[in-house]
């Protein structure tokens, strides 16, 4: 494998409060190549914040520190806000959980996608429009010309999320961060949206960071999984081996899920070991 797209070493994010400082992400290290990497964890584990930190979209109160935070040779930590603007959307883009809140309600769908393209490519309106229509077709929207002229409130949740994907992929980014992109969707729609995302990411050879709380989904969809707890990465494991994870926290999470394939009377409730808070990341499975 060639050099990874994203290299993160000893990343910490903290929020300074009046009385105490909260360490939300505590010294995590990982790298992402042109692959699908899942980050799973419970709420408050720092998984979303990690995704936002890569784009430097953290709240003002957050302090970021890292030994290394580099994307394709660019030091993100030292990058100015102006530099970050050329990276966001263009080289790294982000898909958020709910299209209802992430699309501009006052702009037609087509204009939003065209805008995303024209911000990073010097092309005329006609060409951008053609690209946007092609992109809508790529995310399997029937009758793209009609959808192009709709407002976000006129589309369903599943279609909204496909529009988001179209918008985020049209500048052809190298790395896509998807934060719970399908949690607001029904299971049958989820499958369609994931198929589209999978196909586009694989075809373009982009990297994907897929943030989710759904272990089963991540195990099937991703190539590699990082399991986070309390701001640390507990385990770094190939997705196909997730169900045989060795870290007690990962095991506990898996055992706490009700399963369709076998009947259990009472579910396991995870107990937590304080030693995990400062323990090392368990590197599991065969490395590529």
């Amino acid at each position: 494998m060639d050099r990874p797209l994203l290299e993160v070493e000893d990343l910490s994010v903290s929020f300074r409060g009046a009385h105490r400082t909260v360490q939300a992400v505590r010294g995590i290290s990982f790298s992402v190549g042109r692959e699908k990497v899942g980050i799973v964890g419970e709420s408050g584990s720092g998984k979303s914040l990690t995704g936002r930190t890569i784009l430097k979209l953290t709240p003002k109160a957050a302090t970021i520190s890292a030994r290394k935070l580099s994307f394709d040779g660019i030091d993100l930590l030292a990058a100015s806000e102006r530099q970050m603007r050329t990276i966001r959307g263009n080289r790294i883009s982000m898909i958020l959980q709910d299209p209802k809140f992430s699309l501009n309600p006052l702009m037609r769908v087509g204009e939003q996608i065209t805008e995303a393209y024209r911000l990073h490519h010097k092309v005329g309106g006609k060409e951008a429009e053609a690209r946007a229509l092609a992109m809508l077709e790529a995310v399997k929207i029937r009758d793209p010309a009609r959808v192009f002229r709709l407002y976000p409130h006129e589309v369903s949740g599943g279609m909204g999320q496909r529009i988001m994907i179209a918008m985020m992929l049209i500048p052809e980014p190298d790395l896509i961060i998807a934060d719970e992109p399908t949690s607001a969707l029904d299971v049958t729609i989820r499958r369609q949206v994931l198929s589209i995302l999978d196909e586009l990411v694989t075809r373009r050879g982009a990297g994907l960071i897929f943030i989710s709380h759904d272990l089963n989904l991540v195990a099937d969809f991703c190539d590699r999984v990082l399991v986070m707890y309390a701001g640390r990465i507990m385990e770094d494991i190939p997705a196909r081996e997730l169900r045989n994870a060795r870290h007690p926290y990962t095991r506990a999470l898996l055992d706490s899920l009700p399963r369709l394939d076998r009947q259990t009377d009472m579910l396991q409730v995870p107990s937590r070991d304080p030693a995990w808070l400062d323990g090392p990341t368990l590197q599991s499975g065969s490395r590529a």
Binding site: D198, N216, L253, L260, L267, V269
Partner: protein, 264 residues
């Protein structure tokens, strides 16, 4: 599986019978039939699940049953006696509901003990203080939680309080509207275990609505698949596990519920 009453489920009396239930929103050309001719029956001590995607009408069925929407067609019978469209106190004494979002369903300025004292007062129960301690212990919180406000509780603890509020007047039927979908998986496991335990200890009947197949089949013996306001088919939990579905839509739903398989 051990059940308190050794009578086989099939021979137990019907607790709830829903026949030809329909709910229409709006009128004239813009009328929307949210629930369309839904019938099912729940025996005493049984746990029954309604599954389906958003907008299929499952929560609307539950709201009509709970008396939160009295504009419905068809009939709802509780122990073979039809209940009035506008429910009386006696109905709520025996049927209680637990809502999806524990962050929204508790009054933010009421202490836990006041939350629990209210239903006791409404239904004229004696020994309120003892009952509050008792139910708090039964849901795994303990009497020390009496003096907490909702903001001092985690999501799982709040849902335990919501369950305690429903159970404190000793109802026999609990309506559960996605009781764990707002919770983390580890907390979900706690609440599901609690619901299972309480059902055994108190011989409760559950009607649960959820979009999560694994959760429903974990708790319920029978499920009904809903789509576009109708019940497509009824299955046993074992059928669901084995993927034995007749309707194509149900099959698609079952398939999509087990992780991710790319569409060929």
């Amino acid at each position: 599986m051990s059940v308190v009453d050794p009578t086989p489920a099939a021979n137990r009396p019907a607790a709830l019978t829903v026949s030809h239930l329909s709910v229409v929103f709006g009128r004239g050309a813009s009328a929307l039939k949210a629930v369309d001719d839904v019938s099912f029956m729940l025996r005493h001590g049984e746990a029954f699940g309604l599954i389906g995607e958003s907008g299929c009408g499952k929560s609307t069925v539950l709201r009509a049953l709970a008396g939160l929407n009295s504009e419905y067609g068809g009939s709802i019978a509780f122990h073979d006696r039809e209940v009035p469209h506008k429910r009386d106190k006696a109905f709520f004494r025996r049927v209680q509901m637990v809502f999806q979002d524990p962050y929204a369903s508790l009054h933010p300025r009421k202490m836990v003990q006041n939350v629990l004292a209210e239903p006791l007062k409404i239904h004229g129960f004696d020994r309120p203080q003892e009952r509050i301690d008792e139910i708090l212990t039964a849901v795994g919180l303990g009497p020390s939680f009496r003096y907490r406000f909702p903001h001092e509780l985690s999501g799982g603890q709040r849902q335990r309080v919501a369950i305690a509020r429903a159970l404190i007047i000793e109802p026999e039927l609990l309506l559960l509207d996605e009781p764990t979908s707002a919770l983390d998986v580890s907390v979900q496991a706690e609440i599901l275990n609690l619901l299972k335990q309480l059902r055994r200890d108190r011989d409760l009947t559950y009607l649960m609505v959820s979009h999560d197949l694994a959760v429903v089949t974990h708790l319920c013996e029978r499920v009904a698949m809903m789509s576009e306001g109708r019940i497509l088919e009824e299955m046993s939990a074992a059928d669901v596990r084995a993927g034995r579905a007749h309707e194509p839509y149900t099959r698609e739903f079952l398939e999509a519920s087990v992780g991710y398989r790319p569409i060929a």
